[in-house]
Protein backbone atom coordinates (compact mmCIF):
# COMPACT_ATOMS: atom_id res chain seq x y z
CA UNK A 1 0.00 0.00 0.00
CA UNK A 2 1.57 3.28 -0.98
CA UNK A 3 1.61 6.31 1.24
CA UNK A 4 -1.21 8.16 -0.55
CA UNK A 5 -3.61 5.28 -0.27
CA UNK A 6 -2.67 4.89 3.36
CA UNK A 7 -3.32 8.59 3.96
CA UNK A 8 -6.64 8.36 2.13
CA UNK A 9 -7.65 5.36 4.26
CA UNK A 10 -6.77 7.18 7.45
CA UNK A 11 -8.73 10.23 6.29
CA UNK A 12 -11.74 8.05 5.50
CA UNK A 13 -11.51 6.35 8.87
CA UNK A 14 -11.26 9.71 10.58
CA UNK A 15 -14.32 10.94 8.70
CA UNK A 16 -16.30 7.90 9.85
CA UNK A 17 -15.24 8.51 13.43
CA UNK A 18 -16.24 12.18 13.25
CA UNK A 19 -19.55 11.10 11.71
CA UNK A 20 -20.10 8.61 14.50
CA UNK A 21 -19.22 11.30 16.98
CA UNK A 22 -21.99 13.47 15.58
CA UNK A 23 -24.72 10.89 16.18
CA UNK A 24 -23.14 9.61 19.36
CA UNK A 25 -23.46 10.96 22.86
CA UNK A 26 -27.16 11.51 22.45
CA UNK A 27 -28.64 10.29 25.68
CA UNK A 28 -31.66 8.01 25.57
CA UNK A 29 -34.67 8.92 27.67
CA UNK A 30 -36.98 6.45 29.33
CA UNK A 31 -39.92 8.29 27.81
CA UNK A 32 -38.65 7.86 24.26
CA UNK A 33 -38.36 4.11 24.81
CA UNK A 34 -41.83 3.87 26.35
CA UNK A 35 -43.53 5.95 23.67
CA UNK A 36 -41.86 3.82 20.99
CA UNK A 37 -43.17 0.76 22.82
CA UNK A 38 -40.03 -1.23 22.04
CA UNK A 39 -36.61 -1.40 23.63
CA UNK A 40 -33.66 -2.25 21.41
CA UNK A 41 -31.19 -4.39 23.32
CA UNK A 42 -27.77 -5.31 21.97
CA UNK A 43 -26.41 -8.71 22.98
CA UNK A 44 -23.68 -11.12 21.97
CA UNK A 45 -24.75 -14.33 20.27
CA UNK A 46 -21.35 -16.02 20.27
CA UNK A 47 -20.65 -16.15 23.99
CA UNK A 48 -22.26 -19.21 25.58
CA UNK A 49 -23.98 -19.56 27.91
CA UNK A 50 -24.55 -15.80 28.12
CA UNK A 51 -25.43 -15.19 24.50
CA UNK A 52 -26.15 -17.90 21.93
CA UNK A 53 -28.43 -18.55 18.96
CA UNK A 54 -31.13 -21.13 19.62
CA UNK A 55 -32.15 -23.85 17.15
CA UNK A 56 -34.41 -21.39 15.35
CA UNK A 57 -31.54 -18.91 14.96
CA UNK A 58 -32.95 -16.52 17.55
CA UNK A 59 -30.79 -14.96 20.27
CA UNK A 60 -30.96 -16.89 23.51
CA UNK A 61 -28.98 -17.38 26.69
CA UNK A 62 -28.63 -15.68 30.06
CA UNK A 63 -28.33 -12.20 28.52
CA UNK A 64 -31.43 -12.75 26.36
CA UNK A 65 -33.46 -13.84 29.39
CA UNK A 66 -32.28 -10.85 31.42
CA UNK A 67 -33.23 -8.57 28.52
CA UNK A 68 -36.68 -10.21 28.39
CA UNK A 69 -37.23 -9.55 32.09
CA UNK A 70 -36.05 -5.96 31.66
CA UNK A 71 -38.48 -5.32 28.80
CA UNK A 72 -41.31 -6.87 30.81
CA UNK A 73 -40.41 -4.67 33.76
CA UNK A 74 -40.46 -1.53 31.62
CA UNK A 75 -43.70 -2.63 29.98
CA UNK A 76 -42.35 -2.51 26.44
CA UNK A 77 -41.68 -5.01 23.67
CA UNK A 78 -38.20 -6.45 23.29
CA UNK A 79 -36.11 -6.21 20.14
CA UNK A 80 -32.86 -8.16 20.47
CA UNK A 81 -30.06 -6.93 18.22
CA UNK A 82 -27.07 -9.27 17.79
CA UNK A 83 -23.79 -7.43 18.24
CA UNK A 84 -20.18 -8.60 18.41
CA UNK A 85 -17.47 -7.99 20.97
CA UNK A 86 -15.68 -5.24 19.05
CA UNK A 87 -18.77 -3.43 17.70
CA UNK A 88 -21.05 -3.54 20.73
CA UNK A 89 -20.03 -0.13 22.15
CA UNK A 90 -20.23 1.58 18.71
CA UNK A 91 -23.74 0.07 18.31
CA UNK A 92 -24.77 1.66 21.60
CA UNK A 93 -23.06 5.02 21.03
CA UNK A 94 -24.47 5.38 17.52
CA UNK A 95 -28.00 4.88 18.82
CA UNK A 96 -28.76 1.58 17.09
CA UNK A 97 -29.55 0.03 20.46
CA UNK A 98 -30.88 1.60 23.65
CA UNK A 99 -29.00 -0.58 26.09
CA UNK A 100 -26.40 -3.34 25.97
CA UNK A 101 -26.99 -6.57 27.85
CA UNK A 102 -23.91 -7.96 26.16
CA UNK A 103 -21.72 -9.47 28.91
CA UNK A 104 -19.88 -6.17 28.97
CA UNK A 105 -17.21 -6.32 31.69
CA UNK A 106 -17.16 -3.20 33.85
CA UNK A 107 -13.77 -1.53 33.38
CA UNK A 108 -12.64 2.06 34.05
CA UNK A 109 -11.74 2.53 30.37
CA UNK A 110 -15.21 1.50 29.21
CA UNK A 111 -16.86 3.54 31.96
CA UNK A 112 -15.48 6.65 30.25
CA UNK A 113 -17.51 5.83 27.15
CA UNK A 114 -20.72 4.34 28.54
CA UNK A 115 -22.68 4.30 31.78
CA UNK A 116 -22.83 1.02 33.66
CA UNK A 117 -25.64 -0.34 35.79
CA UNK A 118 -25.01 -2.38 38.91
CA UNK A 119 -23.60 -5.78 37.88
CA UNK A 120 -26.05 -8.41 36.63
CA UNK A 121 -23.50 -11.20 36.17
CA UNK A 122 -19.88 -11.87 36.88
CA UNK A 123 -17.00 -14.23 36.77
CA UNK A 124 -14.53 -14.72 39.57
CA UNK A 125 -11.67 -17.16 39.42
CA UNK A 126 -10.31 -18.79 42.52
CA UNK A 127 -7.77 -21.19 43.83
CA UNK A 128 -10.06 -23.88 45.19
CA UNK A 129 -9.30 -27.06 47.07
CA UNK A 130 -9.22 -29.32 50.13
CA UNK A 131 -10.83 -27.68 53.15
CA UNK A 132 -8.06 -28.79 55.51
CA UNK A 133 -5.32 -27.22 53.43
CA UNK A 134 -4.09 -23.86 54.76
CA UNK A 135 -3.62 -21.76 51.64
CA UNK A 136 -4.19 -18.05 52.07
CA UNK A 137 -2.23 -16.52 49.21
CA UNK A 138 -0.02 -17.30 46.24
CA UNK A 139 3.06 -17.88 48.45
CA UNK A 140 1.29 -20.82 50.14
CA UNK A 141 1.20 -22.65 46.79
CA UNK A 142 4.90 -23.38 47.25
CA UNK A 143 5.59 -27.09 46.81
CA UNK A 144 1.95 -27.92 46.09
CA UNK A 145 0.24 -29.39 43.05
CA UNK A 146 -2.34 -27.15 41.40
CA UNK A 147 -4.49 -28.38 38.51
CA UNK A 148 -5.71 -25.99 35.81
CA UNK A 149 -7.12 -26.12 32.31
CA UNK A 150 -4.25 -25.38 29.94
CA UNK A 151 -4.20 -21.78 28.61
CA UNK A 152 -7.29 -20.78 30.61
CA UNK A 153 -7.50 -17.46 32.46
CA UNK A 154 -6.74 -19.30 35.69
CA UNK A 155 -3.67 -20.95 34.13
CA UNK A 156 -2.30 -17.53 33.17
CA UNK A 157 -3.21 -15.98 36.53
CA UNK A 158 -1.72 -18.78 38.65
CA UNK A 159 1.40 -19.05 36.51
CA UNK A 160 1.94 -15.34 37.08
CA UNK A 161 1.58 -15.32 40.88
CA UNK A 162 2.67 -18.79 42.01
CA UNK A 163 6.18 -19.32 43.41
CA UNK A 164 8.76 -21.19 41.31
CA UNK A 165 8.40 -24.47 43.19
CA UNK A 166 4.62 -24.72 42.84
CA UNK A 167 3.78 -27.58 40.50
CA UNK A 168 1.14 -26.41 38.02
CA UNK A 169 -0.44 -29.42 36.33
CA UNK A 170 -2.09 -28.48 33.04
CA UNK A 171 -5.06 -30.52 31.85
CA UNK A 172 -6.89 -30.22 28.54
CA UNK A 173 -10.04 -28.70 30.01
CA UNK A 174 -11.83 -27.69 33.21
CA UNK A 175 -13.59 -31.05 33.43
CA UNK A 176 -10.28 -32.95 33.66
CA UNK A 177 -8.90 -30.52 36.23
CA UNK A 178 -12.05 -30.96 38.34
CA UNK A 179 -11.78 -34.75 37.90
CA UNK A 180 -8.20 -34.59 39.17
CA UNK A 181 -9.40 -32.69 42.25
CA UNK A 182 -12.31 -35.06 42.93
CA UNK A 183 -10.13 -38.17 42.57
CA UNK A 184 -7.54 -36.66 44.91
CA UNK A 185 -4.81 -36.42 42.26
CA UNK A 186 -4.38 -32.71 42.99
CA UNK A 187 -5.29 -30.96 46.25
CA UNK A 188 -5.96 -27.60 44.55
CA UNK A 189 -7.30 -26.32 41.26
CA UNK A 190 -7.82 -22.94 39.67
CA UNK A 191 -11.37 -22.44 38.45
CA UNK A 192 -14.28 -20.04 38.07
CA UNK A 193 -17.19 -19.46 40.44
CA UNK A 194 -19.57 -21.56 38.32
CA UNK A 195 -17.24 -24.57 38.53
CA UNK A 196 -16.91 -24.03 42.30
CA UNK A 197 -20.71 -24.09 42.63
CA UNK A 198 -21.00 -27.27 40.57
CA UNK A 199 -18.28 -29.07 42.54
CA UNK A 200 -19.91 -28.08 45.83
CA UNK A 201 -23.16 -29.60 44.63
CA UNK A 202 -21.45 -32.95 43.94
CA UNK A 203 -19.21 -32.96 47.05
CA UNK A 204 -20.49 -30.58 49.68
CA UNK A 205 -18.28 -29.54 52.64
CA UNK A 206 -15.10 -31.04 51.20
CA UNK A 207 -13.49 -28.06 49.52
CA UNK A 208 -13.41 -24.29 49.93
CA UNK A 209 -12.16 -21.31 47.99
CA UNK A 210 -8.64 -20.31 49.06
CA UNK A 211 -8.11 -16.94 47.46
CA UNK A 212 -9.40 -14.93 44.53
CA UNK A 213 -7.24 -14.63 41.40
CA UNK A 214 -9.36 -12.22 39.39
CA UNK A 215 -12.86 -10.87 39.28
CA UNK A 216 -14.95 -9.41 36.51
CA UNK A 217 -18.40 -7.89 36.86
CA UNK A 218 -20.68 -7.50 33.88
CA UNK A 219 -23.07 -4.57 33.70
CA UNK A 220 -25.92 -3.33 31.54
CA UNK A 221 -24.71 -0.26 29.61
CA UNK A 222 -26.47 2.86 28.35
CA UNK A 223 -25.24 5.96 26.56
CA UNK A 224 -23.78 8.51 28.99
CA UNK A 225 -26.32 10.84 30.53
CA UNK A 226 -29.31 8.51 30.07
CA UNK A 227 -29.90 8.89 33.77
CA UNK A 228 -33.61 8.16 33.85
CA UNK A 229 -33.26 4.99 31.78
CA UNK A 230 -30.28 3.92 33.88
CA UNK A 231 -32.27 4.46 37.07
CA UNK A 232 -35.04 2.24 35.67
CA UNK A 233 -32.48 -0.46 34.76
CA UNK A 234 -30.96 -0.30 38.24
CA UNK A 235 -34.39 -0.48 39.88
CA UNK A 236 -35.17 -3.52 37.78
CA UNK A 237 -31.88 -5.23 38.71
CA UNK A 238 -32.34 -4.47 42.42
CA UNK A 239 -35.83 -5.98 42.25
CA UNK A 240 -34.73 -9.01 40.25
CA UNK A 241 -31.92 -9.68 42.72
CA UNK A 242 -34.28 -9.27 45.66
CA UNK A 243 -37.02 -11.59 44.42
CA UNK A 244 -34.54 -14.18 43.12
CA UNK A 245 -35.55 -13.88 39.44
CA UNK A 246 -31.98 -13.15 38.36
CA UNK A 247 -30.63 -15.98 40.47
CA UNK A 248 -33.12 -18.34 38.85
CA UNK A 249 -31.91 -17.36 35.38
CA UNK A 250 -28.31 -17.80 36.49
CA UNK A 251 -29.19 -21.25 37.79
CA UNK A 252 -30.86 -22.08 34.46
CA UNK A 253 -27.94 -21.08 32.26
CA UNK A 254 -24.87 -21.48 34.48
CA UNK A 255 -26.00 -24.27 36.77
CA UNK A 256 -25.50 -22.23 39.94
CA UNK A 257 -27.21 -19.34 41.71
CA UNK A 258 -26.03 -15.77 41.20
CA UNK A 259 -22.65 -15.48 42.99
CA UNK A 260 -22.65 -13.39 46.16
CA UNK A 261 -20.19 -10.81 44.89
CA UNK A 262 -22.72 -9.93 42.20
CA UNK A 263 -25.90 -10.35 44.25
CA UNK A 264 -24.59 -8.05 46.99
CA UNK A 265 -22.96 -5.52 44.70
CA UNK A 266 -24.62 -2.20 44.05
CA UNK A 267 -21.97 -0.84 41.69
Amino acid sequence: MNIFRKAAAIAAAAAIFVGLGAVAAKAQTLEAVKSRGTINVGMLVDFPPFGILDNAGKPDGYDADVAKLLAEDLGVKLNLVPVTGPNRIPYLLSGQVDVLVASLGITPARAEQVDFSQPYAGIEIFVFGDKDLAVKGPEDLSGKNVGVARASTQDTAITKVAPQDANIQRFDDDASAVQALLSGQVPLIGCSNTVVAQVEKVRPDTYDTKFSLAQQKQGIATRPGSDELMAAVNDFLAKAKQDGALSKLHEKWLGAPLPDFIANSKS
Partner: protein, 223 residues
Protein backbone atom coordinates in the same frame (compact mmCIF):
# COMPACT_ATOMS: atom_id res chain seq x y z
CA UNK B 1 -0.60 -17.75 1.04
CA UNK B 2 1.83 -15.27 2.46
CA UNK B 3 2.24 -16.66 5.94
CA UNK B 4 5.42 -15.64 7.68
CA UNK B 5 6.94 -18.36 9.80
CA UNK B 6 8.01 -17.10 13.21
CA UNK B 7 10.15 -19.64 14.96
CA UNK B 8 11.50 -17.29 17.63
CA UNK B 9 8.82 -18.21 20.22
CA UNK B 10 9.58 -21.90 19.67
CA UNK B 11 13.32 -21.58 20.06
CA UNK B 12 12.99 -19.22 23.04
CA UNK B 13 11.23 -22.09 24.80
CA UNK B 14 13.42 -24.86 23.43
CA UNK B 15 14.54 -25.89 26.92
CA UNK B 16 10.91 -26.68 27.74
CA UNK B 17 10.64 -28.81 24.59
CA UNK B 18 13.85 -30.66 25.49
CA UNK B 19 12.61 -31.51 28.98
CA UNK B 20 9.40 -32.77 27.35
CA UNK B 21 11.48 -34.82 24.92
CA UNK B 22 13.35 -36.34 27.88
CA UNK B 23 10.05 -37.41 29.49
CA UNK B 24 8.89 -38.93 26.19
CA UNK B 25 12.16 -40.90 25.99
CA UNK B 26 11.87 -42.06 29.60
CA UNK B 27 8.25 -43.13 29.11
CA UNK B 28 9.04 -44.94 25.84
CA UNK B 29 12.11 -46.83 27.05
CA UNK B 30 10.58 -47.54 30.45
CA UNK B 31 7.39 -48.94 28.93
CA UNK B 32 9.38 -50.91 26.33
CA UNK B 33 11.53 -52.68 28.94
CA UNK B 34 8.77 -53.24 31.50
CA UNK B 35 6.26 -54.13 28.76
CA UNK B 36 8.62 -56.73 27.31
CA UNK B 37 9.07 -58.30 30.74
CA UNK B 38 5.30 -58.37 31.26
CA UNK B 39 4.90 -59.86 27.79
CA UNK B 40 7.51 -62.61 28.28
CA UNK B 41 5.92 -63.66 31.57
CA UNK B 42 2.39 -63.55 30.12
CA UNK B 43 3.39 -65.33 26.90
CA UNK B 44 5.08 -68.10 28.91
CA UNK B 45 2.01 -68.35 31.10
CA UNK B 46 -0.28 -68.46 28.13
CA UNK B 47 1.66 -71.19 26.32
CA UNK B 48 2.64 -73.34 29.27
CA UNK B 49 0.71 -72.25 32.36
CA UNK B 50 -2.25 -73.91 34.09
CA UNK B 51 -5.75 -73.20 32.83
CA UNK B 52 -6.77 -70.43 35.32
CA UNK B 53 -3.54 -68.54 34.57
CA UNK B 54 -4.19 -68.74 30.82
CA UNK B 55 -7.71 -67.54 31.40
CA UNK B 56 -6.57 -64.50 33.41
CA UNK B 57 -3.96 -63.59 30.77
CA UNK B 58 -6.60 -63.92 28.05
CA UNK B 59 -8.88 -61.49 29.88
CA UNK B 60 -5.99 -59.02 30.29
CA UNK B 61 -5.10 -59.17 26.60
CA UNK B 62 -8.68 -58.89 25.36
CA UNK B 63 -9.59 -56.02 27.68
CA UNK B 64 -6.52 -53.98 26.75
CA UNK B 65 -6.56 -54.68 23.03
CA UNK B 66 -10.26 -53.93 22.70
CA UNK B 67 -10.45 -50.62 24.57
CA UNK B 68 -9.01 -47.22 23.62
CA UNK B 69 -5.72 -46.21 25.21
CA UNK B 70 -7.21 -42.85 26.16
CA UNK B 71 -9.81 -44.58 28.34
CA UNK B 72 -7.16 -46.84 29.89
CA UNK B 73 -5.03 -43.87 30.95
CA UNK B 74 -8.08 -42.01 32.32
CA UNK B 75 -9.02 -45.12 34.27
CA UNK B 76 -5.56 -45.44 35.78
CA UNK B 77 -5.22 -41.75 36.66
CA UNK B 78 -8.78 -40.76 37.61
CA UNK B 79 -10.35 -44.14 38.42
CA UNK B 80 -7.80 -46.04 40.51
CA UNK B 81 -7.56 -43.38 43.25
CA UNK B 82 -11.05 -44.54 44.29
CA UNK B 83 -9.34 -47.80 45.30
CA UNK B 84 -6.55 -45.90 47.02
CA UNK B 85 -4.02 -46.43 44.23
CA UNK B 86 -2.53 -43.07 43.36
CA UNK B 87 0.22 -42.30 40.83
CA UNK B 88 1.79 -39.01 39.83
CA UNK B 89 0.89 -38.03 36.25
CA UNK B 90 4.18 -39.24 34.74
CA UNK B 91 4.11 -42.52 36.70
CA UNK B 92 0.47 -43.08 35.71
CA UNK B 93 1.51 -42.53 32.08
CA UNK B 94 4.33 -45.10 32.43
CA UNK B 95 1.97 -47.63 34.04
CA UNK B 96 -0.68 -47.12 31.35
CA UNK B 97 1.83 -47.44 28.50
CA UNK B 98 3.39 -50.55 30.08
CA UNK B 99 0.05 -52.26 30.60
CA UNK B 100 -0.97 -51.35 27.06
CA UNK B 101 2.17 -52.43 25.22
CA UNK B 102 2.44 -55.51 27.46
CA UNK B 103 -0.84 -56.86 26.09
CA UNK B 104 0.12 -56.35 22.43
CA UNK B 105 3.65 -57.67 22.95
CA UNK B 106 2.30 -60.77 24.75
CA UNK B 107 0.50 -61.87 21.60
CA UNK B 108 3.56 -61.11 19.45
CA UNK B 109 5.94 -63.07 21.71
CA UNK B 110 3.44 -65.91 22.09
CA UNK B 111 3.51 -66.31 18.32
CA UNK B 112 7.31 -66.50 18.53
CA UNK B 113 7.23 -69.10 21.30
CA UNK B 114 4.75 -71.24 19.37
CA UNK B 115 7.11 -71.21 16.41
CA UNK B 116 9.72 -73.12 18.46
CA UNK B 117 9.44 -76.79 17.64
CA UNK B 118 8.90 -79.28 20.42
CA UNK B 119 11.94 -81.25 19.30
CA UNK B 120 14.22 -78.34 20.22
CA UNK B 121 12.99 -78.32 23.81
CA UNK B 122 13.32 -82.09 23.97
CA UNK B 123 16.87 -81.77 22.64
CA UNK B 124 17.62 -79.32 25.44
CA UNK B 125 16.25 -81.73 28.03
CA UNK B 126 18.30 -84.56 26.52
CA UNK B 127 21.43 -82.40 26.81
CA UNK B 128 20.72 -81.98 30.53
CA UNK B 129 19.87 -78.27 30.48
CA UNK B 130 17.90 -76.94 33.43
CA UNK B 131 14.31 -75.75 32.74
CA UNK B 132 15.40 -72.11 33.26
CA UNK B 133 18.17 -72.55 30.72
CA UNK B 134 15.80 -74.18 28.24
CA UNK B 135 13.36 -71.31 28.67
CA UNK B 136 16.04 -68.68 28.23
CA UNK B 137 18.22 -70.07 25.45
CA UNK B 138 15.94 -72.39 23.55
CA UNK B 139 12.57 -70.66 23.86
CA UNK B 140 12.79 -66.93 24.59
CA UNK B 141 15.85 -65.89 22.62
CA UNK B 142 14.96 -67.58 19.31
CA UNK B 143 11.33 -66.55 19.80
CA UNK B 144 12.33 -62.89 20.24
CA UNK B 145 14.57 -63.16 17.20
CA UNK B 146 11.70 -64.45 15.09
CA UNK B 147 9.21 -61.74 16.13
CA UNK B 148 11.73 -58.91 16.52
CA UNK B 149 10.49 -56.84 13.52
CA UNK B 150 6.87 -57.01 14.71
CA UNK B 151 7.92 -56.17 18.26
CA UNK B 152 9.95 -53.11 17.27
CA UNK B 153 7.21 -51.65 15.11
CA UNK B 154 4.93 -52.04 18.13
CA UNK B 155 7.52 -50.11 20.18
CA UNK B 156 7.64 -47.24 17.71
CA UNK B 157 3.87 -47.15 17.78
CA UNK B 158 4.12 -47.03 21.58
CA UNK B 159 6.42 -44.00 21.43
CA UNK B 160 3.98 -42.21 19.12
CA UNK B 161 1.02 -43.17 21.33
CA UNK B 162 2.76 -41.65 24.33
CA UNK B 163 1.89 -38.23 22.85
CA UNK B 164 -1.61 -38.43 24.35
CA UNK B 165 -0.45 -38.66 27.97
CA UNK B 166 -0.73 -34.88 28.32
CA UNK B 167 -4.47 -35.42 28.98
CA UNK B 168 -3.57 -36.40 32.53
CA UNK B 169 -1.13 -33.47 32.77
CA UNK B 170 1.98 -35.60 32.21
CA UNK B 171 4.80 -33.40 30.94
CA UNK B 172 5.89 -35.12 27.73
CA UNK B 173 6.94 -33.58 24.42
CA UNK B 174 3.38 -33.04 23.18
CA UNK B 175 2.42 -31.39 26.48
CA UNK B 176 5.41 -29.05 26.23
CA UNK B 177 4.32 -28.19 22.70
CA UNK B 178 0.76 -27.50 23.86
CA UNK B 179 2.09 -25.26 26.64
CA UNK B 180 4.22 -23.21 24.27
CA UNK B 181 1.45 -23.08 21.68
CA UNK B 182 -1.06 -21.81 24.22
CA UNK B 183 1.30 -19.10 25.45
CA UNK B 184 2.71 -17.86 22.15
CA UNK B 185 -0.11 -18.79 19.71
CA UNK B 186 2.57 -19.88 17.23
CA UNK B 187 0.65 -23.12 16.69
CA UNK B 188 1.87 -23.81 13.16
CA UNK B 189 5.53 -23.38 14.06
CA UNK B 190 5.25 -25.29 17.34
CA UNK B 191 3.56 -28.30 15.81
CA UNK B 192 5.91 -28.22 12.83
CA UNK B 193 8.91 -28.47 15.16
CA UNK B 194 7.24 -31.16 17.29
CA UNK B 195 6.31 -33.19 14.23
CA UNK B 196 9.94 -33.04 13.12
CA UNK B 197 11.08 -34.12 16.58
CA UNK B 198 8.75 -37.14 16.62
CA UNK B 199 9.89 -38.05 13.12
CA UNK B 200 13.54 -37.88 14.14
CA UNK B 201 12.72 -39.97 17.23
CA UNK B 202 11.03 -42.66 15.13
CA UNK B 203 13.95 -42.84 12.73
CA UNK B 204 16.46 -42.92 15.61
CA UNK B 205 14.46 -45.73 17.26
CA UNK B 206 14.51 -47.76 14.02
CA UNK B 207 18.26 -47.31 13.78
CA UNK B 208 18.74 -48.27 17.40
CA UNK B 209 16.57 -51.36 17.01
CA UNK B 210 18.52 -52.67 14.01
CA UNK B 211 21.74 -52.05 15.95
CA UNK B 212 20.36 -54.11 18.84
CA UNK B 213 19.28 -56.80 16.39
CA UNK B 214 22.78 -57.05 14.98
CA UNK B 215 24.34 -57.25 18.45
CA UNK B 216 21.90 -59.58 20.18
CA UNK B 217 20.68 -61.89 17.45
CA UNK B 218 23.73 -62.10 15.23
CA UNK B 219 24.19 -65.85 15.24
CA UNK B 220 23.63 -68.26 12.37
CA UNK B 221 20.31 -70.09 12.33
CA UNK B 222 21.74 -73.37 11.07
CA UNK B 223 25.00 -74.72 9.83
Amino acid sequence: MDYQLKFAPVFDNFGHLLSGLLVTLELSFGAMLLGTLVAIVCAAGKTGGPRPVRWIIDVYIEVIRNTPFLIQIFFIFFGLPALGIRFSPNTAALVALTVNVGAYATEIIRAGIESIQKGQVEAGTALGLKPVQIFRYIIVKPALRTVYPALTSQFIYLMLTSSVVSVISATDLAAAGNDIQSQTFASFEVYLVITAMYLVLSIAFSGLFSLVERMAFNYPLSR
